[in-house]
């Protein structure tokens, strides 16, 4: 890896376009393809690259997922603080994200299920009963407009003239 600036540039490209071919990435950044492959492996190994995900608009294929944002009040009972409870909650596959937040609540989760009932039961059975959890607020998602930086609504790009000086 040459320097931090180049590493960041590589990560920016990968974040935006994880499927890019190493050859293209090498030319884009002006470095050898061997170096690119080696650097990517290194970034994966040391946990800077945490994974590659495809953003899917499940609504568009008629898959009826139900998403909910769930806010939790946490009462701290041991010295491990928020981490212990957050890590525990993060273990459930239904939970897509866990964040420690400021404000009226302490943790914010995104949960995905097949139905409202499933999500509600998940919260009632797995989350609410945890000792440290002293309150929950569940907000079901009605429509997602933007996900991880990707626009999920149809956006018509204004047209340019095809030939201009």
């Amino acid at each position: 890896m040459k320097n931090v600036r180049e590493m960041k540039e590589m990560l920016e490209v990968l974040e935006h376009d994880p499927g890019i071919l190493p050859n293209d990435l090498a030319v884009m950044l002006g470095i050898d393809v061997e170096e690119v492959t080696k650097d990517i492996r290194e970034l994966e190994n040391n946990g800077i690259i945490r994974g590659y995900r495809t953003i899917v608009d499940w609504d568009a294929v008629g898959e009826e997922y139900v998403y909910a944002v769930i806010e939790l009040n946490v009462a701290l009972e041991d010295r491990r603080g928020y981490d212990a409870v957050a890590e525990r909650i993060a273990g459930f596959p239904e939970v897509l994200s866990v964040r420690l937040i400021s404000g009226d609540y302490d943790l914010s989760l995104t949960v995905r299920g097949k139905s409202m009932k499933e999500v509600a039961f998940f919260v009632a059975e797995k989350i609410a009963p945890l000792e440290q959890i002293h309150g929950t607020a569940t907000h079901f998602v009605l429509k997602t407009y933007k996900e991880n930086g990707a626009i999920l609504f149809d956006e018509k790009k204004p047209e340019r003239l095809s030939i201009t000086p």
């Binding site: 293209d24 002006g30 095809s162 201009t164 000086p165």
Partner: protein, 384 residues
């Protein structure tokens, strides 16, 4: 008795060579166009939002002739920060695009019959604007072997006692050439020796990929004879908002401002508001776009060379200007056949002056995916 209604000057200027290609392409959606001279990005949202908000607040009246004072001050600060050049806000004029600024600059300095040197290949408007202003454009060639930089010998060869000014446009459309400080220094002596004014169109100044842009006004004795033209179209993807500006010492600038106040009055206020936002907070988005152009540039130019179109590395703007001489076609034939057979639109080099012949302009201000498809098609075209 019929008198010809159209002025002799206007009649003498040939129609733009781009027009024909425009007509061939219009209305077709199966074409990948590498013929576009503007960013493919939409104006950053914070700038658009500022324009919308200014309309909501009712900013719809004239501004001072020279433009909003805040915008002029921001531009002057930017020039001091980047080039250590001092301009007072009175030495800045906000125009309706750089095109207006170029027209004003030429009209402000040309007496009937005086000539202006126009290094080519260059943007298509300079020569006609010189003619419209009553002057005589003198095209001077730049060469592939100099990476399309202007060399002093060419100035000396073409300058006459009637020559009033020279137009510089680097980073260059269509070649992507730049003039580094040392190259500008090489031509400075010839410019001083012949007491030429300089009209320096630097609209692509923010888009240089290996070097920080140098403006010729930075060189000793140059600021006093230079009219700098620049704007927001390319740097902030604001082409349709039409905001450009001119910077020049008071005596010159007031001549431009005089014409502007009688013709344009002022640049559109909404767009000026957007330009203020661009100056204040546009850096990050601009750098993002520039990075993206740079990635495309590297991929596109390498592939062009790989498939057999000799292309020097463009250092600025968003154009590549490969030679097509190995194909045996002239640039118009190449562009027309490429369009008809492979549905890729590009602009023949000859449109940008005689020394553009033998080359073609491909713009890489298009998504990487489209560029890749276009490259495949160009390769097929070359192998037919």
């Amino acid at each position: 008795m019929h008198r010809n209604k159209i002025s002799r000057i206007v009649q003498s200027v040939p129609p733009s060579g781009i027009r024909r290609f425009f007509d061939l392409v219009t209305g077709r959606d199966d074409i990948i166009s590498l013929g576009v001279g503007e960013p493919d990005f939409v104006t950053p949202w914070h700038i658009r939002e500022t324009c919308i908000y200014s309309l909501e607040k009712g900013y719809t009246s004239y501004t001072p002739n020279q433009g909003l004072i805040e915008l002029r001050e921001l531009i002057c600060e930017d020039f001091y920060r980047n080039y250590h050049l001092s301009y007072q806000s009175d030495e800045a004029l906000i125009t309706t695009g750089v095109s207006e600024a170029a027209d004003l600059a030429l009209r402000a300095i040309i007496n009937p019959g005086e000539s202006v040197l126009v290094p080519e290949p260059s943007y298509v408007s300079y020569k006609p604007c010189v003619s419209f202003a009553g002057g005589k454009p003198i095209p001077i060639e730049t060469f592939r072997e100099d990476e399309f930089r202007l060399i002093p010998e060419q100035i000396k060869k073409h300058v006459t006692p009637d020559t009033k000014a020279i137009i510089l446009s680097y980073p260059n459309n269509p070649t992507g050439a730049i003039m580094e400080r040392k190259h500008l220094e090489e031509i400075a002596d010839a410019i001083i020796e012949h007491d030429l004014l300089i009209i320096s169109d630097e609209v692509y100044s923010k888009l240089t990929y290996n070097n920080h842009h140098t403006t010729i006004a930075e060189l000793n004795g140059m600021q006093e004879r230079t009219i700098i033209l620049n704007g927001f179209s390319k740097s902030h993807a604001m082409t349709g908002l039409r905001i450009g500006y001119a910077l020049a010492p008071m005596e010159l600038l007031s001549a431009l401002a005089k014409i502007h106040q009688y013709t344009m009055l002022c640049a559109p206020v909404t767009a000026q508001m957007g330009a203020i936002e661009a100056m204040k907070k546009g850096e990050e988005e601009m750098q993002k776009m520039k990075k993206e152009y740079n990635h495309r540039r590297r991929i596109f130019v390498k592939r062009l060379n790989d498939i057999g179109l000799d292309c020097f590395e463009p250092q600025g703007a968003f154009y590549s200007f490969p030679s097509i001489q190995t194909t045996g076609l002239n640039s118009e034939q190449f562009a027309e056949q490429l369009l008809k057979e492979q549905k890729v639109a590009a602009v023949p080099g000859s449109v940008f002056g005689r020394s553009g012949e033998g080359h073609i302009r491909f713009s890489y201000a298009t998504s990487l995916n489209e560029l890749k498809i276009a490259l495949e098609r160009i390769e097929q075209f070359l192998n037919r």
